[in-house]
């Protein structure tokens, strides 16, 4: 099939970017979206042009690198899916596809579709861990954890840090990402003891990185590849308020 692409090209974070139009003939329906971009890049390189830069790594939906805005929706038209798992059969012959980088003040553009998502890493390093002495791995069954609790923690831990929640949010809020990490660690006994300290540190870091606030529009869960529950967000609010009120 034939595709008309409008891709955001920007040399670096300082320069002004613009949309460039490209046309691809004979695109195979079975290609993944990233493979379609590879095809374009091959053509560009052959012509001596600079290829379109975009982040990707695993190409199997688990690393969270491949975030981009496709026709105005994070990771493209299918809900709860990463860009690398999107295939060209989701598009029609003759379609025009707008491809833009994720936009947020906390996600500065590196080049083209590639943005710097270190702000999410800073949130994790500010408290998204369990302080333990390293050493031998402890015996797995020494702390009993109910199956349901382990499952709930795992649901929150499924976040791949792609940033689609931020890109989909009208306030560019990282509340879904941040709260998922808080829930994951809070549900497990190893992480529980540090909850108050963690929540305060992690929320303050979220603010400092320049993310917006949450207004509960719930758009994030709809576009999240892992379908992380928005109920993590009130849980974060609850824990934060509790920590502040009890002055922990």
């Amino acid at each position: 099939m034939k595709l008309h692409l409008k891709i955001w090209r920007q040399k670096d974070s300082q320069s002004k970017g613009e949309f460039k139009a490209y046309t691809l003939e004979d695109v195979d329906q079975e290609l993944s979206f990233l493979e379609m971009l590879d095809t374009l890049n091959l053509k560009l390189v052959k012509k001596g042009d600079y290829p379109v830069e975009f982040d990707h790594d695993c190409r199997e939906g688990i690393c969270g690198q491949c975030g981009m805005m496709i026709n105005g929706i994070a990771h493209g038209p299918i809900k709860n899916l990463t860009t690398c798992q999107l295939h060209m059969r989701s598009f029609k012959d003759g379609d025009t596809i707008y491809i833009e980088p994720f936009r947020a003040a906390a996600f500065p553009i590196v080049r083209d579709l590639k943005v710097n998502r270190s702000s999410l890493d800073h949130i994790i390093t500010s408290g998204g861990y369990v302080s333990v002495d390293t050493g031998q791995a402890p015996e797995a069954n020494s702390i009993p954890i109910a199956h349901e609790v382990a499952e709930a923690a795992f649901d929150a831990a499924a976040c791949i840090g792609c940033g689609a929640c931020v890109a989909s949010c009208k306030n560019a809020s990282a509340a879904l990402f941040t709260s998922a990490k808080i829930t994951q660690l809070e549900l497990l006994p190893q992480g529980q003891t540090e909850t108050s300290k963690r929540v305060v540190a992690i929320v303050n870091q979220m603010e400092e990185e320049g993310f917006g606030h949450c207004t509960n529009t719930e758009a994030c869960q709809v576009e999240c590849p892992e379908d992380i529950s928005v109920l993590n967000i009130p849980r974060m609010n609850y824990e934060y308020n509790k920590a502040k009120i009890l002055n922990k």
């Binding site: 936009r103 989909s168 917006g212 207004t215 529009t217 609010n237």
Partner: protein, 221 residues
Amino acid sequence: MWYLKNALTRKNLMALTGLFLSFFLIIHLVGNLQLLLPEAEAQLQYNWYSRLLADNIFIKIIAMVLYLCILLHTIDAIYLTIKSKKAQGAGYAKDKRGRASKWYARNMMFLGSIVFLFLVIHFKDFWYQFKFGEMPLDANGNKDLYTLVVEAFDQLWYVILYVIAIIALGYHLLHGVFSAHRTLGLYHPLYSKIVKYLGIIYTVIMTIGYIIIPIFIYLNR
């Protein structure tokens, strides 16, 4: 001053003031439904009721809290909306993010601004007149607020203005009451759902209740 710059804290204030305003709406509606009584009865009773409220020290304190809430809620709304604008960055050339959320949830500031403009008119025409204006008295010697209100709603454009403002308020509440509980930290799946539906029921009652008053008065005179 962490509580001034922290969005979560500001959001709590927004939720608490919003919920207080929402609670006030119930009382305000119940009081004003007296306007729908038969005319002879309504005039004396409504004016007596208004005087009762105006003279009561407890109500006076609540009124002060109310003014404060409107002020804080609006200031926080502006602060957070500016913050959100800053966080968004350059925005998208093609933006279809709207498919994932409700339009009224995304436009709370717009709806709130309509409500605010309405409040200015509402306060000027009734509250200010009653408190500081020259008002004729009724048979019992109370200020005749009833006639002021009823005559205002004789004008079609005024009724339309009210209906539009109340619909805007309705959508504001539809998202607001639900959102406030989330903001304050209600994360239990079942209770959260219950509160969501209670919020919808509350909103429908408030919207219909407030819309009936101007329309009923317009049609019955």
